[in-house]
Symmetry: C2
DNA sequence: GTCTATATGTAGATAGAC
DNA sequence: GTCTATCTACATATAGAC
C-alpha cells in the first residue's frame, strides 16, 4: 500500500482501461499497454498473473468509478426522477467518445459475450451496479415494476450508443438522449 | 460460376459467417474456419486475398439474406405498420441465439467500430439496409420524421439485444419485444 | 521491485509441388 | 484448383540477472 509498486499497478490498469475501450479487450496487447505506460511487458506479471486478471482489475476500477458517479447523481437531487436524468446526462457529456467507440460498458460486455464465461460475467458487474441503482430510483418513484423499468432504461441507453457509434452520428445521439429524458419524465404510475 | 470452386467459396463464407457471430471477427482464425469446412488454411488465399476480404463477402451475404427477409416482411401485409411488426418478430424467432451471442449485425458493428475504418464502414452496410427499409415503412404510414423513427426502432432493438445477451435473460428479451411492438402500434401521426 | 532475454504458441500470409 | 510446408510477426507468458 502506498508503495511504488501500487503506482505502477494503477498506471497499468488505467492504460488498459482506456485501451480496452478504444480498441477492445482482445485487440489490446501487453505491448500496447507497455508503450503507453513505459513499463516493460515482462513487469506486468509481477502485478497480474494473466491478462484476464488485468481485465478483472479494470472492471473493478470501473465499478468504483461508476459507483462514485452514481453517488453524485444521488446527491444532485432529492427526487429520484431527477437523479435518473442526471445519470442520462453523463452519456451526453461523453458525446464524442460514445460516437467514436460506443458505450465503454456495453461494448465490453458485447465483446466478452463471445469469450469465456468467466470474462463475460466479470464484465457484467458494471451493468449490475447500474441496473440495481436505477431499480432503486424507479422504486422510490413508486413503480411496482421498478426492475423492469431499470432494464428498459439500460437497454435504451445501450441502443442509443450502438446506433450513434455505428453511424457516427452526434445529432442522433443528442436527439435520442433528449427523447430518453422525455420518456423518463413522462412515465406515470399506472 | 457453378464450378467446384464456388462451392468451396460459399462454404468458407457460411462458416465464417457463423464464427464471426458466435466468436467475433478478431477471435475467429483461419484454422477455425478450416476445422469446420475441412478446407485447408492455405486454400483460402485462392478465394480471398486477405481476411478482410472474407469479412466483405460475409457482409455481402448478410445483406442478401436480410434483403430477402425484408421482402418477406413486405409481402406479409399491405400495411407498413404490420410489416414493421413482422420484422421485429424475426428477433423473437432467434431468441436463443440473441441471448447467447447478441444481434449478429449490431455485435459485429460494435466490434469493428474499434477496428479500421474500412472494416467499420463495411459492417455498417447491413444496418443501412435495415434503416432505409424501416424509413420507407414509417414514411408510408405518413410520418414526416420517418428516418428518425427508423433510427429509434433500430436503436431499441439493439439495446434489447445487448441487455438480453449481457444478462442472459430470455424473459427480458420476450417482454421487450412485446413492448417494442406495442410502441410501434401506439405511434400516432401528430 | 524492475528489467532483459527468451520460451512457446498461433496468427495471417506465401511458395511451390501436384 | 487443391494441398503441404513454411515464412514472418506478434501474442501471452516465463526465467533469471540485478
Amino acid at each position: 500500500m502506498g508503495t511504488k509498486g501500487d503506482n505502477n499497478r494503477t498506471r497499468i490498469v488505467e492504460a488498459a482501461d482506456q485501451l480496452f475501450y478504444k480498441r477492445g479487450y482482445n485487440q489490446t496487447s501487453f505491448s500496447d499497454i507497455a508503450d503507453i505506460t513505459g513499463i516493460p511487458r515482462g513487469n506486468f506479471y509481477y502485478y497480474f498473473k494473466t491478462k484476464d486478471d488485468i481485465l478483472a482489475a479494470v472492471v473493478e476500477a470501473r465499478v468504483k468509478h461508476y459507483a462514485e458517479a452514481l453517488l453524485e447523481c444521488e446527491n444532485s437531487s432529492e427526487r429520484p426522477r431527477e437523479r435518473l436524468l442526471a445519470f442520462i446526462d453523463i452519456m451526453g457529456s461523453s458525446e464524442d467518445t460514445v460516437v467514436e467507440s460506443g458505450c465503454p460498458i456495453g461494448s465490453l460486455c458485447a465483446e466478452l459475450a463471445k469469450d469465456t464465461d468467466a470474462l463475460q460475467s466479470k464484465s457484467r458487474e458494471v451493468f449490475e451496479l447500474l441496473r440495481d441503482w436505477m431499480g432503486k430510483q424507479f422504486g422510490e418513484i413508486g413503480f411496482a415494476d421498478a426492475n423492469d423499468k431499470a432494464m428498459d432504461l439500460l437497454a435504451r441507453m445501450q441502443g442509443t450508443a450502438v446506433i450513434a457509434c455505428t453511424f457516427k452520428d452526434n445529432d442522433y445521439l443528442n436527439r435520442s438522449i433528449g427523447d430518453l429524458k422525455s420518456w423518463v419524465n413522462s412515465l406515470t404510475l399506472s
